[in-house]
Structures are given as structure tokens and as C-alpha cells.
């Protein structure tokens, strides 16, 4: 999976949420349904301000429950649709997301994650990794999950997200966080109207004489039929595995590997530099797709590195996937902070050094 959009024009300084919203207009989004919640309200605000006179429509719903079900209706009617929210709002949407996954409708959902659980805090977090990658709602389903780590990727992944959603008829989640949503960075926006669009044959656009009526549903009362539906979905998830995408920084000669996504990976980049200055060969693997996950690449790297250290803004969620990848071949450590607190590059370096020391102590 690569970004295929042409990027022309000048670099702009934009907030992550606004770059995301502008990219959606440029991606020929037909409709956005959303509800305000900090720290993602700028998406709705930007679209309400910018869409008049341009393609698409925006509607502020009465709740996240309503907005995700509006997404279901509009996606079922063949439109390119998107919503966004932050953690508590995404929790409210889970029933609808399960229905959308089951009815095999394409749509894009952004979670600008904030600290939880409960009402939590409005500060950034990565505490929704499990919810995003392991299902979230009821039943056996997955979303494709993309994790941007810059304002540029907040914009780019809108195009990738719609393309994947439509290719696989599946909801795609952009798992961002409050910092990426709020911070301003340089961004070069993709060109308007560069993402092709067709109205799918299965959409409920009105029954014509030359076809049977189209029905969007997730209800299959006969267990034999329901199992077949599930098997088809599982086949689809298998076929998605080829979309796995990750970034490697100074991995070639790395003896120690950091694994981090999103904002945490930005901090880890600095740690890699600090470590290399001290002569410690640290590399970084950043999963870009959190589902599908780069299990195979991490397994390969378990033959190369002494240990892996997973860095997250949560209590340790992705670390479980890293451990699954390496199948016990190398130790997998974890460092993280919660509640909106962010690790410093030095905190991570100290952790690497202390793990390294304890390994040497054992060797002596």
C-alpha cells in the first residue's frame, strides 16, 4: 500500500484535525456525520465552515450513535462517507461499527484518542489500541486500522483509508490521538478529486427493472447461513493481510528494537538518535497498519535483535501483538505512560540502558 495521490502546491501549516478534514473534501467525500467531542471537534467545525460551495455534505447529529447509523445509511446508499470522534464517542459507535462491518459497507472512521477509561481526560492517549484492532463491538470482525504519526499522514491516510474501505467493503479506522489532532505541522495536501469513485452495484439507490432489489442487512437467522457469512468475512480478513505496512528506522544494524506506533513512534525516533550518539545500536519499527499487523516482519527481526521494547501511551496493549510475533524468541519489554502523560525520549533511552545492563548482569 502506497500513497498514490499527487501532491502539488505549497506546504501549509495546519492542525492535524484540519488537515484530516481538508483531505476528506479533496478525497471527494460525499457526506460526513459527526458530533462534537474534544479533542476532535475541529474536524466537524472545519467541514461545516469549508464544505459550502464544495463537494459533499456535513451534518451534526444528535449523538455518536446517530452519526454512525447515518454513516450506515449513506454508505449503504453508495456514498463515500466518513465520521470522526474521540474515545468515549467511539465507544458509543461500537454497535453501529459492528453492523457496518457485518453489512460489509465501506466507510472511514477517525478516532482522535484521548485518555480513558470513562470520561478520562482530553489529553492524548493510545489506550484504544485493543478496541480498534481486536474488534471493538460484538462479533467476529476487524477494521483496517491505520496509525498516522504526523499531520502529513493525517491527510494522506484519508485517501488510503477510503481506497482500502472501498476495495474490501469494510470500515477503516484512523487511530490517531489528541496530540496529532491538535498539533500544527507542515503538510502538503493531496490534489482534489484524485480518488476515483463509482456507485457500487449493491447500493440501495432504488431498485431498477433489470435487477433484484438490493438489501443491506447483517441479519442471517439460519445458523448455517450465518456461519457462511462469517467464513466469507474471515476470508476477506485473510486477503487483507497483504496490505500490511510499516516503517523502519535504522533497523539494518540494530541490536535493540523499539516498536511504537503513532505519536509514540515520533518520540522513539529521537531516542534512536540519542542512543546512536552513545554508540547503542537502537532501531525502530513503526507499524503503520495496526490491523493487519506486521507479525511476520517482527518475527524476522527476532533473529536479529537482543530484545524489543514496545513504547505506548497506555498500560501495554500493542506489546501483546509484539509478543505474539516473536513467539518467545527474544524478550519483549514495555514502557508506557497513561492518562494523557507522554514519555520523553530520555525516559525511553534509560529504559533501554537498564534492560541492557540487567541482561549483561545475567550474562556475568
Amino acid at each position: 500500500m502506497e500513497n498514490k495521490e499527487k501532491r502539488t502546491g505549497e506546504a501549509k501549516l495546519m492542525k492535524g484535525n484540519e488537515a484530516f478534514a481538508e483531505a476528506a473534501i479533496r478525497a471527494d467525500m460525499d457526506a460526513y456525520f459527526g458530533y462534537p467531542i474534544t479533542p476532535q471537534s475541529e474536524v466537524l467545525e472545519y467541514l461545516e465552515r469549508e464544505i459550502p460551495g464544495r463537494h459533499g455534505l456535513v451534518l451534526q447529529a444528535e449523538s455518536e450513535i446517530a452519526s454512525i447509523n447515518m454513516i450506515y445509511g449513506a454508505a449503504g446508499a453508495g456514498a463515500r462517507v466518513m465520521t470522526s470522534s474521540s474515545s468515549p464517542g467511539i465507544s458509543l459507535m461500537q454497535e453501529g461499527i459492528s453492523y457496518i462491518a457485518a453489512a460489509q459497507l465501506p466507510c472511514l472512521i477517525a478516532n482522535i484518542v484521548r485518555g480513558g477509561p470513562g470520561l478520562g481526560t482530553i489529553q492524548p492517549s493510545q489506550g484504544d489500541y485493543f478496541q480498534a484492532t481486536k474488534g471493538g463491538g460484538h462479533g467476529d470482525y476487524h477494521l483496517i486500522v491505520l496509525a498516522p504519526s504526523s499531520v502529513q499522514e493525517m491527510a494522506d491516510f484519508v485517501f488510503d483509508g477510503f481506497r482500502l474501505a472501498e476495495k474490501y467493503r469494510t470500515p477503516v479506522m484512523i487511530l490517531s490521538d489528541g496530540a496529532l489532532g491538535q498539533m500544527m505541522e507542515k503538510v502538503i495536501l493531496p490534489e482534489e478529486g484524485s480518488l476515483p469513485k463509482t456507485v457500487p452495484a449493491w447500493a440501495t439507490t432504488g431498485k431498477t427493472k433489470n435487477r433484484e432489489h438490493n438489501v443491506i442487512t447483517s441479519l442471517f437467522m439460519q445458523p448455517e447461513e450465518m456461519e457462511q457469512v462469517n467464513l466469507r468475512m474471515q476470508e476477506k480478513y485473510k486477503s487483507m493481510q497483504k496490505e500490511v505496512r510499516y516503517e523502519e528506522i535504522q533497523v539494518e544494524d540494530a541490536e535493540f528494537l523499539l516498536v511504537a506506533f503513532g505519536l509514540s513512534s515520533r518520540i522513539c525516533q529521537k531516542t534512536v538518535d540519542l542512543a546512536r550518539e552513545k554508540g547503542i545500536k537502537v532501531g525502530l519499527l513503526r507499524p503503520i497498519t495496526l490491523y493487519p499487523y506486521p507479525y511476520d516482519r517482527l518475527k524476522e527481526l527476532s533473529n536479529q535483535v537482543e530484545f524489543m521494547l514496545t513504547v505506548e501511551m497506555n498500560a501495554g496493549q500493542m506489546v501483546e501483538d509484539v509478543r505474539l510475533s516473536v513467539e518467545g524468541k527474544v524478550p519483549v519489554h514495555f514502557i508506557g505512560r497513561m492518562g494523557g502523560m507522554i514519555l520523553s525520549p530520555e525516559d525511553i533511552l534509560h529504559k533501554i540502558e537498564s534492560i541492557h545492563e540487567s541482561l549483561n548482569a545475567v550474562n556475568v
Partner: protein, 266 residues
């Protein structure tokens, strides 16, 4: 319609009409050739038939998208030969909003029962009408959760015995029956609100007229049209169909009086 000169009754299904006879009625193309699963005496099948007849007569089969609810009519799409979506419990009007917003020139309707529309979906119901979505909201009020086996609904009557109000509904405990159609009349987005029945021929005729009006108003983009049908549930009420009609007339209609609740103001 005229080319289908076949008898539709069970014994003579597919038989050509004899010479000298004129066919005066047949199943409209908007209904599939699938037998309804509804219990004998239930109003759902009549409402399905009337709604599909109206869509057929208006010639808008190709331009209409329906939204089925969760409840007994969850399988409405098996009988309605139009494009349809099946919504989550309570969310039919949000789904309908999504469809209508991206296909503003199509006709869109939602079809919901009382638990769906007046309990779990109350927020969606109120806000859909408040936005004046140009859709038809069809509301079947039989005062009970039929599909799940006869539990108390928001519209169940005081004293009504159900599986979750085994000693009769008590206002002090669970509140009074909710008259949602009356509430919706307060909203400027509600253009036409009416309450009808289908348990007698006159009621069926009136419902048909109401639905014709609702689609005409939708064409004119006037706002939300809300058509309530006070109906029965022989299985849930634990009565024979004949007994349900007596109960409906003596108990339900006094609580939910029939007729137009809000008509267009010119």
C-alpha cells in the same frame, strides 16, 4: 398490472383467468412472492400490503428506499420488493437520514415498532423530526415487544399484563404510556402527523390516503411525515385475533385517539 392475469389464491396459483372474467386485484410488483411470517391476525402484514400498494400506485418503486427496524418487522425487506436497509434497534430514522441526505430526490421511509421508535430510539425519533427530514416515518404501535416475546413497551397501557409487567403496568413504577406522536407535533419539523388503524376496511382505506399524502408531501420536500398505526398483537397480548380487536377498540384507541394530529398549515 394488466398483463398479470393470473389468479393469486392458493389453490389456483398461476392459473390464467378464465375468459369472460376480469381480474380486479393482484399482488403488486412491490410485494415479493414470499408468504408473510407474521402471526395470524397481526396488523403488520396489512400495513406492509397497504404501503407497497401505495408505492406501486404512485409508480415510485424504483425511487423508494425503505428502512426496516429490529422487531417483528425486521424481515420487512423479504416482502417489500424495493431497495431496503436493515437498521440497528432504534436507529432506523438515523439510517433513513443518511440515505435521504445523499439521495435527496429519492423517497425514503422508515418502519418501526413502539419499542424501537419510542424507547431505545427516542433520541433519533425526536431529532429526525426536529430536522424535518423529508422522509415518511411509519410507526406501528401495538403496545408490546412482539419479537422478543411480549414484554412491556413504552406504549403499553396502565394495568396491561405483559411478561415484564406480570402484575400489570404501574405508572408509579415505570411511568405512563408515551404518546410520542402527540409529542412530535410540537416540533416545527413535523409536517403531517396522523394516527390510523388497519383492523377494519375503513381504517385501511384511511391509512392508504394518509400514506398517499405523506409521499406527496415528501415529493414537495415539506418535512417529516409521521404515520402511526395503532395495531394489535394476538401472540403478545395472549388473545385471539377477534379479542385483540375488541381490546384495541375499547382500550387502545381511547388512549391513542385516531385521526390527524397535525395537518399542513397554509
Amino acid at each position: 398490472m394488466n398483463e398479470k392475469l393470473y389468479l393469486e389464491d392458493e389453490e389456483n396459483l398461476g392459473t390464467k383467468v378464465e375468459e369472460g372474467y376480469e381480474q380486479v386485484y393482484c399482488r403488486p410488483d412491490t410485494l415479493t412472492d414470499v408468504p408473510f411470517h407474521y402471526c395470524p391476525g397481526c396488523g403488520h402484514s396489512v400495513v406492509h400490503k397497504v404501503l407497497m400498494e401505495v408505492i406501486d400506485e404512485l409508480g415510485i418503486q424504483e425511487e423508494t428506499i425503505g428502512v426496516a427496524p429490529v422487531g417483528c418487522s425486521v424481515f420487512a425487506y423479504q416482502y417489500m420488493n424495493i431497495d431496503m436497509q436493515e437498521a440497528a434497534h432504534g436507529r432506523a430514522t438515523a439510517v433513513a437520514t443518511g440515505i435521504k441526505r445523499v439521495l435527496p430526490d429519492k423517497y425514503v421511509f422508515s418502519y418501526q415498532g413502539d419499542g424501537d421508535l419510542a424507547a431505545i430510539g427516542t433520541a433519533e425519533t425526536i431529532h429526525t423530526v426536529n430536522r424535518g427530514e423529508n422522509i415518511l416515518m411509519l410507526f406501528i404501535n401495538n403496545g408490546i415487544y412482539g419479537m422478543t416475546g411480549g414484554q412491556m413497551a413504552p406504549t403499553s397501557l396502565i394495568g396491561q399484563v405483559t411478561s415484564t409487567s406480570p402484575y400489570g403496568r404501574e405508572a408509579a413504577q415505570v411511568g405512563n404510556p408515551i404518546k410520542i406522536a402527540d409529542m412530535l407535533c410540537l416540533l416545527p419539523g413535523a409536517y403531517y402527523v396522523t394516527r390510523q388503524i388497519v383492523h377494519n376496511p375503513n381504517g385501511v382505506r384511511k391509512l392508504k390516503k394518509a400514506l398517499l399524502k405523506a409521499f406527496e408531501y415528501q415529493k414537495q420536500k415539506k418535512g417529516t411525515c409521521f404515520v402511526e398505526v395503532v395495531s394489535n398483537c394476538p401472540s403478545g397480548w395472549k388473545m385471539t385475533p377477534v379479542e385483540t380487536i375488541k381490546y384495541l377498540e375499547e382500550k387502545m384507541i381511547p388512549m391513542y385517539p385516531l385521526g390527524d394530529l397535525k395537518v399542513p398549515q397554509n
